[in-house]
Symmetry: C2
């Protein structure tokens, strides 16, 4: 099947155009897409350079490019109306119905996609990230009262990336605590977690996947042995059940999905809106 | 002005619906929006519960809700056609033109928005995150040959969150190295960075903003004094210029924008596509 070149155009970072475009392209299996992001198109000169780049690709390939645009300004967008490609316009398509509904003309300004309405949002995300780093892997255990969430689970069950994602994306203060062998053996909830039971959320994973992950980290020894891994996971899951800690199996989920699941299964508020 | 309730509907995490909706809503200043995300709507029962929730909000408020949907399945989506709200349908709007263009019927399956086509993408993001953590703040300096990028800058110029964001979002291996006082005084590029000049990218920030950030961290002492901060920033910027290290001022940019700027100013490849 012929390759297609996909362009993501934006007067900002291109993250929105990429996110939207990609979610559509995943509906078309078997096609091969080369993806090019052209961010920060905020002048007529840059728009014209982008048109030339698109037309050059179109001239070389048998199939015309597909262009996903979140350009806001009409005078920039209109430069692309005659570019050689299918132009899919995320902005204009929905602004009309929204203007009617809200009975307001939209400002047609280059928006900060993320958090423009809230100048404190950036600070909260950074604070949350610093919190996640300080409270990673049980590194710090005093101050859990500041946490929105405390993720618990065995080593390499996905706690760290999930905490960081929750912090960077949603400004959520998430600590994580690795369950140690003696804690798993006793089955008791670690004493220092007991006052924060309502903040706990468990992560688990299949033994097969965890063996693979641990082997990549440290190939030899008990740490990555199927027997040890199976013991740890069973003990962790029965701890979650005994203490009624909600938990999720991370095996076949992406970080976005794990994070979203946690937020939807708890009452943790997003401190920042995308 | 009346408040509006915004619903984000998805059979997955809701991240795409939120991204779309938010980028549009920032075009309407002065409106107050209450945002509710309803993720993982993957059964008729869940769809009907969501319709009831929307209708209940509509009955309570003077303005009907606005609904951003990325639902893929027709039998779920059609439940919302008579919900009391403006239904903006991301998938249906753009799938038609794409099907025509690609001369394929879309699979109409619930896509993994992020990385479905690439089962190694998740692993690369996790590896990149571990790399960023290991190579954070000059913590590890052997192994820079594995880095795609090495961010340099003074303390609290935004290096850590940027590295983590690049890792989690794009799977980019980004280390960061804080410029120490003696290095700033001498003006020489630190010896251990010299072999990796083409991987370096500088971050800077205004003195005013940095004083504020450092004060929040450690209120007293030279660390946050305007004089010290100004010296460090001037020395860092002249080091960037002398060694022709590209750099960006992070003061008024969000993490997404800083990351996107770095990728567009360098030839670093995204290892993962959104």
């Amino acid at each position: 099947m012929a390759r297609r070149t996909i362009f993501f155009l934006s007067d900002q970072t291109g993250v929105t155009a990429e996110t939207l475009g990609h979610s559509l392209l995943t509906q078309f299996d078997g096609h091969q897409f080369d993806q090019i992001t052209l961010p920060f198109i905020d002048t007529v000169d840059k728009a014209e350079a982008a048109v030339r780049q698109i037309n050059a690709v179109a001239a070389e390939q048998s199939e015309r490019p597909i262009i996903f645009s979140t350009l806001v300004h009409d005078h920039l967008r209109e430069r692309f109306l005659h570019a050689s490609g299918l132009f899919l316009d995320f902005f204009n398509t929905f602004l009309g119905p929204l203007e009617l509904e809200l009975q307001t003309t939209s400002s047609h300004t280059v928006g900060r996609t993320h958090g423009i309405n809230d100048s404190g949002a950036y600070d909260r995300r950074i604070e949350a990230t610093n919190f996640a780093l300080n409270y990673d892997d049980g590194g710090k255990t005093h101050g859990y009262e500041r946490a929105d969430l405390i993720l618990v689970g065995v080593s390499r069950s996905g706690k760290t990336p999930t905490c960081l994602y929750l912090a960077l994306t949603y400004g959520v203060f998430a600590a994580n605590y690795p369950l140690a062998e003696d804690e798993l053996e006793s089955g008791d909830l670690p004493k220092l977690l007991q006052p924060y039971r309502e903040k706990l959320f468990g992560l688990t994973i299949t033994a097969e996947r965890l063996v693979k992950i641990r082997k990549e980290r440290r190939s030899a020894g008990r740490y990555a042995s199927p027997r040890q891994v199976t013991f740890e996971l069973r003990a962790a899951e029965s701890m979650f059940k005994r203490w009624q800690i909600p938990y999720v199996d991370t095996t076949s989920f992406l970080i976005e999905e794990i994070s979203s699941t946690i937020l939807s299964k708890t009452n943790v508020e997003r401190r920042v809106r995308l």
